[in-house]
């Protein structure tokens, strides 16, 4: 557990070296401006979080004041947390009491790499302090205990045997409780955790609810508390620490090749292949860049991995920013599946499909997965639903619906285009057409092929589809669909389509349809939907 009490102000000062002297951040709450974060220098002069801005200015005239920018700070803290995955693969941000500042690392089975728990804690603290972050840390058997120790005691390592001796003298606030509960407890005369623990549990539960007991049990390890790692769980990974930070993308790819070969050996020893690969680049300035990609089928072929990363890197050329250099790289494999050790590559299935899958992998790694598509046939009589285009990466192993053989066009317009059609008699063959401001005389035609709408939905009220969620939910909250009081009911008759195959005098063959029937409330509309060969 690492606790960075002044992270917000430290981070801003580090970002902008011109910010010197006492700094405080305020937030607008109900029209008033209240301080929420104060750096140590200001705190010495009596400035406290919760004060109003006017009071703080009066106390300390040279105080620099900034409005707090939560998304920026959260993103920055997220970067810092990701960067700490160079110490342990399982890193999480604890947001119980504050939105940033508490970092949890699961160091089970990791500490020996750093020469023991005490040395590891020392190293983690030292390297943050070297960057002028104020930080406290604790290693303890439970998340609750580590939180308590890092917030309310000196940085230390607490073993399971000394846990209650260390926790009992700490104040009750160390249990991650609400301010109200803390106040009530102190009014009852219970100021330390040990005192609370010695009380009978039933009355405590009746007075404070299950929360207090849960926190107590979590701190002492009676109840297991789980953390959710920020990075995807990684089963196999290889890493390389670099003496000299890398800047160039080509160098990064060269190291990736090394890593890919090592990862391939690793996977082969375990008889497995992977479908997702993550390349994590740890920058010197506490940021992590992640390149993730997927393969269509499990593989462990280093050459294939490298070519995928190479194409992925080409796509990102503009966004690649090594900052002051990359000092550690990790190649991780996810979505593992059994792959017999004797098998040469994952792709040795006869019939050339393996090469196609590799090709689609390469194409999607550079053009993006939604750009490489395969047709998936569906059992639907509505033409645009009968064939779905799905990303080729996701399409492997799809089953095909049986299709009756129908005359269908070679090309279909993604959305039908309205045309003006004249027919001699209302239900006769179309005689002429105007499409894209050009006139066509139609000399031949066949039809109609009547495709009814989905009658089993008749009478249902149409609904508006909610707009797709914006990629960044923090920036734009999803808007509810506009309220329209009288949406039409689904009318299968008005949605019936009569398809005609028509040919113009130059030999172009089109697929047009008429939406709706004559005699209904609305006049039918004609659309052009496809081209025949």
């Amino acid at each position: 557990m690492l606790f960075l009490p002044h992270w917000a102000t430290d981070y801003l000062k580090r970002r902008d070296p011109a910010l010197a002297g006492p700094l405080a951040l305020y937030e607008r709450i109900k029209g008033g401006m209240r301080l929420v974060a104060v750096d140590p220098e200001a705190r010495q002069h009596g400035v406290r979080p919760g004060q109003s801005v006017a009071d703080a200015r009066a106390l300390l005239p040279p105080l620099t004041l900034r409005e707090i920018d939560y998304p920026l700070l959260e993103a920055g803290f997220g970067d810092l947390a990701d960067w700490h995955s160079n110490a342990s693969p399982l890193v999480a941000i604890l947001t119980d009491r504050a939105r940033f500042g508490d970092l949890v690392l699961d160091i089970t089975g990791v500490s020996h790499l750093f020469g023991g728990e005490a040395a590891m804690l020392e190293l983690l603290l030292q390297r943050l302090r070297a960057c002028h972050y104020s930080v406290a840390g604790a290693i303890a058997p439970t998340i609750g205990a580590a939180w308590a120790l890092s917030h309310f005691a000196r940085s230390q390592v607490a073993g399971p045997e000394a846990l209650s001796a260390r926790l009992d003298p700490l104040p009750v606030a160390a249990l991650r409780l609400d301010q109200n509960d803390i106040t009530t407890l102190s009014q009852m005369g219970l100021t330390t955790i040990g005192q609370v623990r010695s009380r009978p549990r039933k009355p405590l539960q009746a007075r404070f609810g299950a929360e207090l007991l849960l926190r107590l049990d979590q701190a002492y390890g009676e109840v297991e508390e789980r953390m959710t790692s920020r990075l995807p769980p990684i089963a196999h990974s290889v890493e390389r620490r670099l003496l000299d930070p890398l800047i160039l993308l080509d160098d990064v790819l060269a190291v990736t090749q090394d890593l890919a070969i090592r990862l391939a050996h690793d996977l082969e020893r375990h008889g497995r292949g992977a479908q997702t690969f993550h390349l994590l680049l740890y920058r010197v300035d506490h940021k992590v860049m992640t390149l993730s990609l997927n393969a269509a089928r499990p593989t462990r072929d280093p050459a294939h991995m490298l070519s995928l990363f190479r194409h992925r890197a080409q796509r990102l050329a503009g966004e690649y920013d090594a900052g002051f250099g990359i000092d550690m790289m990790r190649l991780a494999a996810g979505a593992l599946e059994e792959l017999a050790p004797t098998q040469l590559g994952a792709f040795s299935i006869p019939g050339g499909m393996e090469d196609i899958d590799r090709l689609t992998d390469r194409l999607s790694s550079r053009l993006g997965a939604p750009a490489v598509l395969r047709t998936q046939l569906k059992a639907s009589h509505i033409p645009e639903r009968a064939a779905r285009l799905v990303p080729a990466i996701a399409a492997s192993g799809v089953t095909q619906a049986a299709q009756p053989s129908l005359t269908r066009p070679l090309r279909l317009l993604p959305s039908p285009e309205p045309v003006a059609i004249n027919a001699e008699v209302p239900d006769g063959l179309p005689a002429s057409m105007i499409w894209r401001r050009q006139r066509y005389r139609l000399i031949r035609g066949a039809g109609p092929e009547r495709l009814g709408a989905e009658w089993w939905r008749s009478g249902e009220r149409l609904e508006l589809v909610p707009p797709p969620a914006s990629p960044d939910p923090a920036k734009a909250p999803p808007e509810p669909p506009p309220y329209i009081p009288d949406l039409k009911r689904h009318d299968p008759e008005a949605q019936t389509r009569d398809y005609y195959r028509v040919e113009d005098e130059d030999g172009r063959r089109f697929w047009v349809f008429r939406l709706g029937l004559y005699g209904g409330p609305d006049l039918p509309v004609w659309y052009l939907h496809g081209f025949f060969a």
Binding site: V372, T375, E505, G530
Partner: protein, 265 residues
């Protein structure tokens, strides 16, 4: 007279030039083009062909012709056909539609690639050509591509010659520009064949085809083709005319019902 001698020297020189140009695919195309039973030569893989259509509304014909050729190249390990197009042009040209392809190729063998710009499209074409399992690549470009100059097509034709996969460019318009493609076709749709039981209905598709660049074994340049189950069938040898004779019927067919009514009245 040194006439036969000169002739020999000329052919020798041509061979040297062909060697310098290293067009193995074209040399092979001349030699190996099999005259299929239906009349249209079956061109071997490894060629780059420009197929020019007059307007984007003829897109269906172009795709049909390219797919007919690609179908003949699907064999053994070469099991896929790629269709490349630019993402913004999908609505103008229409996208290949699975159920409609079934007569030509298995729709699951077609991989569609939507490139954001011409550079990505050309990259994808080159990448696909170097794959051993691709039979043919069909690239749709509605607008005249600036990037597709002689160098680019040359690069692609070398790649195609090495790997044995064919590349078909579908171009739209009357422009022509320098290209290293072995063949340049001009394709126009033609009125379809008669349907046996319904003379009003469009039948099997027919196209006029003119070879504008490149040579084939029999030095023929004009075809009237009909797409059949077996492949492309040749119908006639008459010279190509961009605008065929006007239709015999200048208006839509009169309703037969009306005649009968007038007879009974």
């Amino acid at each position: 007279m040194p006439a036969p001698d000169r002739q020999l020297r000329l052919t020798a020189l041509r061979d040297i030039i062909a060697d310098i140009e290293r067009k193995p695919a074209l040399a092979e195309a001349g030699a190996r083009a099999i005259l299929s039973e239906t009349g249209f030569p079956q061109l071997p893989g490894g060629t780059v062909q420009d197929i020019f259509l007059d307007e984007t509304r003829d897109a269906g014909a172009g795709l049909g012709f390219a797919l007919m050729q690609a179908r003949a190249l699907l064999a053994g390990k070469r099991s896929a056909v790629l269709h490349l197009h630019l993402a913004p042009e999908g609505q103008a040209l229409g996208l290949p539609y699975g159920p409609g392809l079934e007569g030509l190729i298995d729709p699951t063998r077609l991989v569609l690639v939507q490139a954001r710009n011409a550079a990505d499209l050309l990259w994808a074409a080159e990448e696909a050509l170097s794959c051993q399992a691709v039979a043919a690549v069909i690239a749709d470009m509605a607008a005249r591509p600036k990037l597709l100059d002689f160098t680019a097509t040359r690069r692609l034709s070398l790649r195609a010659g090495e790997s044995g996969a064919s590349l078909f460019f579908l171009h739209y318009g009357s422009w022509r520009q320098a290209s290293a493609a072995q063949m340049r076709w001009r394709l126009t749709p033609e009125r379809s064949a008669a349907q046996p039981y319904d003379d009003q209905a469009p039948g099997a598709p027919r196209w006029r085809l003119r070879l504008e660049r490149g040579t084939l074994a029999n030095h023929r340049t004009d075809w009237l083709l009909q797409a059949t189950e077996k492949g492309l069938a040749t119908l006639s040898t008459e010279p190509f005319e961009p605008n065929p004779a006007p239709a015999a019927l200048s208006h839509a067919l009169p309703a037969p019902l009306g005649h009968r009514l007038s007879q009974t009245a």
